[in-house]
């Protein structure tokens, strides 16, 4: 239900009389449908229709937010009254509750039915034995400021996650699978290719060993590395080893990394951020130099560049990354393998974390290929790659791959329990002197 923007804006005006004050109403409607698939059968069907409104007021270092789990005029009024009380502004009068009118039924059939017909065929072909959860999220958001135009924006996001049984030379093995993409005409075909790739037969894996190694992060999975070592430290208001190093050269000049919410073909894209600002791509590394930070209206240093994000209407916005984009270079995969000479070739990273105070990060990979004398050799089992932000940035090889690939397994980022959609795309990237430890 869309709110009457003119009416709500009038309620907010007394809360934003001074230039340094922020007042706004944020509203969200979320429709989710998910189906658990077990070996071609839908074992459980779930649907969700939730909504909420929150009012926010901020002056300097003081902020208050009030959330009500409805999206209508009455909820917006309740939220604004709660914020007015906290801000010490005289509160609006209480109005009698009017019964809510039933919204008209949507004419368009839900994509749930279309996918419930289509997915079993895709799974039967590429991964007939599986435990997977298919989820479609439709998120519709509205931001109303006291002055200026309100902003409305929506996203439709599809995920398929879980595990399936695949053949390997030694017999069947369970492999994890994760795919996140905005819903588009080509999503089905992309999902088929991703499943087919994931189900390819593999050799028996040996432990990847412990110690120091050079590694190529291929198949777009370098996006996870840059999300951890650049996106998180460059969220405004965060202290990290990158603080105070603006314009310093940290990586070879061939390395260009930006965060681009405008890439709507990626899971983390959006047309407006959660404060209603149109997002701009932010250069994080420009020719190897530390370039910019992701900002919102409350966290400078510069004006907002449209990176304010909320996990939901019940949470206050924070500056967060969206889609991390690593520019391609000139090298072919063969060339990069030759430059690697000996080390690990990794195409999947299924988890990552960074501790910002020390700059230590860690990435988990489920499998890898060993490279010996510049050629792909035996399969390795999973392990952890770790290092520290500054040494690793400086040890990136300048020869970046020429093909940039979206990394669809990367879909969500949690910071302090607040989860937002993200993604990235990257070429093959060779990183030297990473620490590796095999998963026991």
């Amino acid at each position: 239900m869309e709110l009457d923007t003119a009416l709500v804006a009038r309620w907010l005006e007394p809360l934003a009389r001074r230039p340094e004050e922020i007042a706004e109403i944020f509203a969200e409607t979320r429709r989710e449908a998910s189906v658990d698939w077990v070996d071609g059968q839908s074992s459980e069907v779930r649907t969700q229709r939730t909504e909420g409104v929150s009012a926010r007021w901020r002056r300097g270092t003081r902020q208050c937010l009030a959330f009500v789990s409805r999206r209508d005029e009455e909820a917006a009024r309740d939220a604004v009254r709660a914020v007015q009380r906290e801000a010490g502004v005289s509160t609006m009068p209480v109005r009698p509750v009017r019964p809510r009118e039933a919204a008209p039924e949507e004419e368009e059939p839900h994509a749930l039915e279309r996918w419930a017909r289509r997915l079993p065929a895709i799974l039967a072909r590429h991964a007939p034995r599986h435990r997977l959860r298919w989820t479609l999220r439709e998120i519709d958001r509205q931001l109303i400021p006291p002055r200026g135009a309100a902003a409305s924006f929506s996203r439709r996001l599809l995920s398929l996650e879980g595990s399936f049984t695949a053949a390997s030379r030694r017999g069947d093995e369970t492999r994890r699978f994760s795919f996140h993409a905005p819903l588009a005409d080509a999503t089905g075909d992309e999902l088929k290719s991703a499943l087919a790739r994931a189900a390819e037969p593999r050799d028996t894996a040996n432990p990847c060993g412990d110690g120091e190694t050079d590694a190529v992060l291929a198949g777009g999975c370098a996006a996870v590395l840059f999300h951890e070592i650049l996106s998180h430290p460059l969220e405004s208001g965060v202290e990290s080893p990158l603080s105070g190093l603006e314009q310093a050269r940290l990586a070879p000049s061939e390395v260009e990394v930006r965060d681009d919410p405008g890439r709507l073909d990626l899971f983390g894209g959006y047309e407006r951020d959660d404060e209603g600002t149109a997002p701009r791509a932010v250069k994080l590394l420009d020719a190897g130099r530390l370039a910019g930070r992701m900002t919102d209206r409350s966290h400078g240093p510069a004006p907002s560049n449209g990176h304010s994000r909320r996990a939901g209407p019940e949470d206050a916005p924070l500056p967060r990354g969206s889609n991390v984009i690593v520019a391609p270079g000139p090298a072919t995969s063969e060339e990069i393998t030759r430059r690697l000479a000996a080390g690990l070739w990794i195409e999947e990273i299924d988890g990552g974390s960074v501790e910002l105070a020390s700059g230590r990060f860690r990435l988990r990979f489920p499998r890898a290929r060993r490279v010996r004398r510049g050629r792909l050799a035996d399969e390795c089992g999973g392990g952890f790659l770790s290092g520290e932000i500054l040494p690793v940035l400086s040890s990136i090889d300048p020869a970046l791959g020429r093909e940039q690939r979206p990394y669809r397994a990367l879909g969500w980022c949690a910071r302090g329990g607040l989860v937002v959609p993200i993604q990235g795309c990257a070429p093959d990237v060779l990183v030297r002197r990473l620490r590796v430890r095999a998963i026991a």
Binding site: E44, Q48, E51, C64, L65, F67, R100, E355
Partner: protein
């Protein structure tokens, strides 16, 4: 019965006669988020309805934040076929008493006080970066097609604290998640934060590759939480021997009767001995897993939120021991080992392969005496061996949200391998 619940119940009865459940939750919370010089107050008022029903053979679930939207979610979930599964044996209790929901008070501002205690505890090496305190209250009503109509309310006072330690050029962060059932424990929180934020600043790794392993209550609780899936599994891994899963003195109990009279499906809460004298006793069962196993539900249908269907899981799980000893006696028993003060990464338990890895920061102990900090160490081995090596328990049991409440005292593991 409120008009909304009555109307929704009628609709569900038409859709799946006798085979439905309606869950209604109203919650309120006040949260104070503080950092140096910054304060943010968040108030939340949340209502939600969740319906579960068996129609056309299979289970379906729909939820909505308003009663008006739930029927649409129900209609949507009905559009897809679900594989056949027998409906559960629904409970049919009725609760009595007043149906008033408690109110949530705003939490006090404790930032400066904890900051001061942390500085004292860490000798100035750690500073509080952020503190989030939350007080919440919720009321829950569950009805079903077999006459169940129960109401209960809960309150919570919990939070998260983040501290940063610094020594020369070295820095590290430490986080503590806590829940206060009996009022604020500021000293305990400051101690935990100081350990997490300063011990990793030491430049020393594990000086021994095997020895005794003494676990702080928070670490022991994390390990108990990590093995908890074994208590809900319908098919146990091959390495699990029910009769001697743990060492003989170990008893593990789940008893959430202090928190709520019913679980998320309306089954009455009761004390359940999960492990008795080292043997796996009663598994934790929700309605669906009870139906599949042909046993009664144990009151462990857990809902992480009204937005997700209930699943079997622990609610308030804790170690019990017949003859606990003071923590200093356990320390005195360590001849050559490590004290794990805090985890530095989530514990990894691979049930399929019977392997575990636990990364922690702590203190070297020789001859029952602390001999300096260890920045990081890794304990690893077989889960089956770890559980049978729990040798002694202390009297200092504490509860931690993981996210369900887990209670553990200081625990001595007689032998472990370290890296």
């Amino acid at each position: 019965m409120s008009g909304e619940t009555e109307r929704l119940s009628e609709e569900l009865e038409r859709l799946a006669p006798g085979q439905w459940e309606l869950y209604e939750k109203a919650a309120e919370s006040r949260e104070l988020d503080s950092a140096a010089g910054e304060r943010a107050m968040v108030s939340r008022r949340d209502r939600g309805w969740a319906a579960r029903w068996w129609a056309g053979g299979g289970p379906r679930f729909a939820c909505g934040s308003c009663a008006e939207e739930l029927p649409r979610a129900i209609a949507e979930a009905s559009r897809v076929e679900a594989a056949a599964e027998d409906p559960p044996a629904w409970p049919s209790a009725k609760s009595e008493g007043a149906r008033t929901a408690p109110e949530a008070e705003p939490p006090p501002d404790l930032f400066e006080e904890i900051q001061g205690r942390l500085a004292a505890e860490s000798r100035g090496e750690a500073a509080l970066k952020r503190l989030t305190l939350r007080r919440g209250a919720s009321s829950i009503r569950i009805v079903n097609g077999r006459g169940l109509d129960v109401f209960f309310s809960t309150t919570v006072y919990d939070g998260i604290a983040l501290a940063a330690g610094r020594k020369g050029a070295r820095a590290c962060e430490g986080r503590a998640v806590f829940r206060w059932d009996r009022g604020p424990d500021l000293d305990g929180l400051a101690r935990r934060l100081a350990d997490r934020a300063t011990l990793p600043l030491s430049d020393r790794g594990a000086p021994i590759d095997r020895g005794e392993w003494l676990l702080d209550p928070s670490v022991a609780a994390a390990l108990l939480a990590a093995v908890a899936p074994l208590f809900c599994e319908e098919t146990l891994p091959k390495w699990v021997h029910r009769r001697d899963l743990f060492s003989p003195g170990v008893t593990v109990v789940d008893d959430a009767s202090a928190d709520a009279h019913y679980d998320g499906e309306g089954t009455a809460t009761r004390r359940l001995v999960v492990v008795e004298g080292g043997s796996l006793a009663s598994p934790l069962r929700d309605l669906r897993s009870a139906r599949r196993s042909g046993s009664p539900a144990t009151g462990h249908g857990v809902r992480a939120s009204y937005r997700v269907p209930p699943r079997s899981g622990p609610r308030r799980l804790f170690f019990e021991h017949g003859s606990p000893a003071p923590a200093r006696e356990l320390l005195a028993r360590v001849r050559r080992g490590l004290f794990a003060a805090a985890l530095t990464a989530p514990a990894r338990f691979d049930f399929e392969r019977d392997r575990y890895e636990v990364e922690f920061t702590g203190i070297v102990v020789f001859g029952g005496r602390a001999e300096g900090a260890v920045a990081g160490a890794l304990a690893k081995g077989r889960i089956s061996q770890l559980l049978r090596r729990l040798a002694a328990f202390s009297t200092d049991r504490q509860f931690f949200p993981m996210p369900f409440l887990v209670g553990a005292p200081t625990v001595l593991v007689e032998r472990s391998e370290f890296e």
